[in-house]
């Protein structure tokens, strides 16, 4: 909906953003070619996960927080496990970390394929959605669905099912998948590797609007490999910190137009920060495996990517990386690994973070000595990216103010989808304080 104001201003409003996960709206006001207000309005009903977690057992967050998001439940399960294990002073063996990474690869494949092909590609190719796209370009949608299915199959073998997997527990897994079950996935993943490479070739040929954004990028960086299931926090300005110091560097605040808290890094002195594929790639491209690194070079990504519209290319490169990693882990796997280690409850505070498909997902828990959760804090990627999305919209509207309303609105929606916003994730956590007086 677009309308003119009596004072000559102009309002552009999209009341239901399509092809995003969850419910949001966009509201932009213009006067004399200048943007006077930009709001990514997140009106998805608030969901009180942090409050629900209080009083629950230390073993429950993997199952409970998975329900924050149907698209990236593994991210919640992994960050929750790391945080609880941290609070209890337990570190899991390398084999369990690897199996977590394998499950997480499945989620990246499923989530990135969903976004690249079903949610984002239609913007570049001029369609309303993937069903219309499939009518004209069936082979493109077939690649996407096949990739997505491969990710879901991997999650199903390791996690039991792809939405809200049941096999994750604090300390590891309920049952380790058998080598024979994992190896049976090889043909599917080999096809997926070809499909992922084809995806990079496809999306690198799209037309990208010119745009360079100066945000501080924030991502995890593990001791080795590309960041997926763990790592310490690094930033493009060299302001890295340990996961346990996340609350000291990132603070959240409520704004009237969003049911999701906004976040700022170090008080916001250096402007908005951004998490997600662009940040991960820019800070860790040296960690990509050979195949993904080669695909990134051929796609012309360079060492730094600052155009949000090119995030689709990075997601495609990450698809290659996730499939390659999955194959590597499966090939190196042997049976006989205990599925979990004991995590006896312990009074304390624990911190955990992992790279959800959309960026860093942070969890913090405070436990009583019997393991009862006293406090919980969850900072999902989409809420952290809200300020970046709004700054992109502001820059974009002022640059393309001469486009007609319809074209400008579509480009703004496209710009929001660059971030693959998961509004359901972002809205679970209005800051709650308990008044016990």
């Amino acid at each position: 909906m677009n309308h003119r104001l009596t004072d000559g201003g102009q309002v552009m409003h999209v009341s239901t953003l399509a092809r995003v996960e969850g419910e949001g709206a966009m509201h932009i006001e213009l006067r004399d070619g200048r943007v006077t207000d930009v709001q990514l309005r997140i009106y998805e009903p608030p969901r009180f996960y942090e409050a629900f977690l209080r009083g629950r057992a230390w073993t429950e967050p993997p199952d409970i927080t998975a329900r924050i998001c149907g698209i990236c439940p593994v991210a919640y399960q992994m960050s929750a496990c790391w945080a609880i294990e941290d609070a209890c002073g337990v570190s899991v063996p390398e084999a369990i970390r690897l199996m977590r990474r394998l499950l997480y690869c499945g989620e990246w494949i499923e989530s990135h394929a969903l976004h690249v092909f079903l949610l984002h590609a239609p913007d570049f190719l001029g369609y309303d959605g993937a069903i219309d796209l499939a009518a004209d370009h069936p082979s493109v949608v077939e690649i996407g669905l096949r990739l997505k299915k491969a990710g879901n199959q991997l999650m199903t073998v390791v996690g039991g099912r792809s939405i809200h997997p049941i096999n994750v527990r604090v300390g590891g897994f309920h049952r380790m998948p058998l080598t024979s079950e994992l190896r049976a996935l090889r043909p599917v993943l080999e096809q997926a590797r070809e499909d992922a490479l084809a995806t990079v070739r496809l999306v690198s040929g799209f037309d990208f609007p010119e745009m360079e954004q100066p945000y501080e990028y924030v991502a995890l960086r593990p001791e080795a490999g590309y960041p997926i299931e763990e790592g310490r926090v690094v930033t493009s300005e060299g302001n890295g910190f340990e996961v346990r110091d996340f609350p000291a560097h990132i603070d959240e605040f409520q704004v009237p137009h969003s049911h999701a808290l906004h976040a700022r890094l170090d008080g916001g002195a250096r402007g908005p920060y951004v998490v997600g594929p662009l940040a991960r790639y820019t800070l860790n491209h040296d960690r990509l495996g050979d195949l993904a690194a080669e695909a990134a070079r051929e796609a012309g990504l360079g060492a730094v990517c600052r155009n949000p519209f090119r995030s689709i290319v990075v997601r495609a490169v990450e698809l290659v990386e996730a499939v390659s990693e999955a194959l590597r882990i499966i090939d190196g796997w042997s049976d006989g690994v205990p599925p979990s280690v004991p995590v006896p409850p312990c009074a304390g505070e624990g911190f955990g973070a992992s790279e959800a498909p959309r960026g860093i997902l942070f969890h913090r828990y405070v436990l009583d000595d019997d393991g009862t959760i006293r406090d919980a804090q969850i900072v999902p990627p989409t809420s952290q990216n809200q300020a970046g999305v709004e700054a992109d919209l502001r820059a974009l509207v002022e640059t393309w103010v001469d486009l007609d309303d319809h074209a400008l609105q579509h480009r703004c929606e496209h710009a929001i989808r660059n971030y693959d916003p998961c509004i359901s994730c972002a809205t679970h956590f209005l800051d709650l304080t308990v008044d016990r007086s």
């Binding site: 953003l17 969850g22 149907g70 499939a134 299915k149 099912r161 096999n167 527990r169 049952r175």
Partner: protein, 265 residues
């Protein structure tokens, strides 16, 4: 013959149940040949005006605005099918229903004036007539396809309402309770998942909600034998279908047992 118009609506939820539709990778394009996907914002910008032949509704009612919106959805839908634990029982959001009597009694926001929310999370059927309820947190992909096929063919969907135990036997799982003393909600939980948790060496945690003839009192006794204390019994019934009547009564019974134990002490 014109294709039936399908709409997909979201209320308070995680998106997982509507994602299940997009996870029908082999069936999605053929399905789009059988039905007109008329309203599905997660998948397409295109909006075809109602009325709709079939509406799939995900999520529970938790805000004053959604109390209104569900009435409009009902009025615009010839058939309305709720999908998932949130829509059929209030879901995990129904944990707020206990807030007044338990620990988060005085929960306040930093700025409560920005947020409108109800103090209870309720299923869709508490507000409008529902033609079919598909259970699960999340729903099962095969069951969703069966429901859609039944709608297209104008028949009742074949969805079992017996317990997870049947599926365990069919799958050849060893009973985790009998063999290992693992607490399991399988006997009172509706089938549909394929007895997933026992197949992965854990007890069922009830994400499909109560089956049609559950005996939760008897199961609660067994859970205590298997080592759960009253708090654990309370919590195992109070997750993703906490407001389903049978699970609600079981958790309230555990709460009152716990209070009695505390008084004794």
């Amino acid at each position: 013959m014109t294709k039936p118009k399908l709409a997909v609506w979201k209320f308070a939820s995680c998106d997982g149940c509507q994602l299940t539709l997009l996870n029908c990778e082999d069936e999605l394009i053929p399905l789009a040949g059988e039905v007109e996907i008329a309203y599905f914002p997660e998948a397409t910008r295109a909006v075809v005006e109602g009325p709709y032949d079939v509406s799939l509704v995900e999520g529970s009612i938790t805000t004053p605005a959604d109390l209104e919106r569900i009435q409009h959805v009902r009025a615009a839908s010839r058939r309305l099918i709720t999908i998932g634990a949130c829509a059929t029982s209030g879901g995990i959001q129904a944990l707020r229903n206990f807030a007044d009597v338990e620990e988060f009694r005085s929960v306040v926001y930093a700025h409560p004036e920005y947020v409108e929310t109800l103090d209870r999370s309720t299923p869709i059927a508490a507000h409008v007539a529902v033609d079919f309820e598909l259970r699960g947190c999340p729903i099962d992909r095969h069951q969703l396809l069966e429901v859609l096929a039944a709608e297209i063919q104008g028949r009742r969907p074949r969805i079992s309402s017996h317990s997870v135990c049947f599926e365990c036997k069919r799958r050849g799982n060893v009973c985790v309770t009998v063999a290992h003393g693992t607490p399991c909600l399988g006997p009172v939980t509706q089938a549909g998942c394929g007895a997933l948790c026992p197949a992965y060496d854990r007890g069922c945690y009830g994400c499909f909600g109560p089956q049609d003839t559950p005996n939760a009192t008897s199961l609660s006794a067994r859970l205590r034998v298997d080592g759960m204390d009253e708090t654990q019994v309370l919590q195992v019934f109070r997750t993703f279908n906490a407001a389903s009547e049978v699970f609600l009564r079981a958790s309230e019974q555990a709460a009152s047992n716990r209070d009695a134990e505390e008084v004794e002490r």
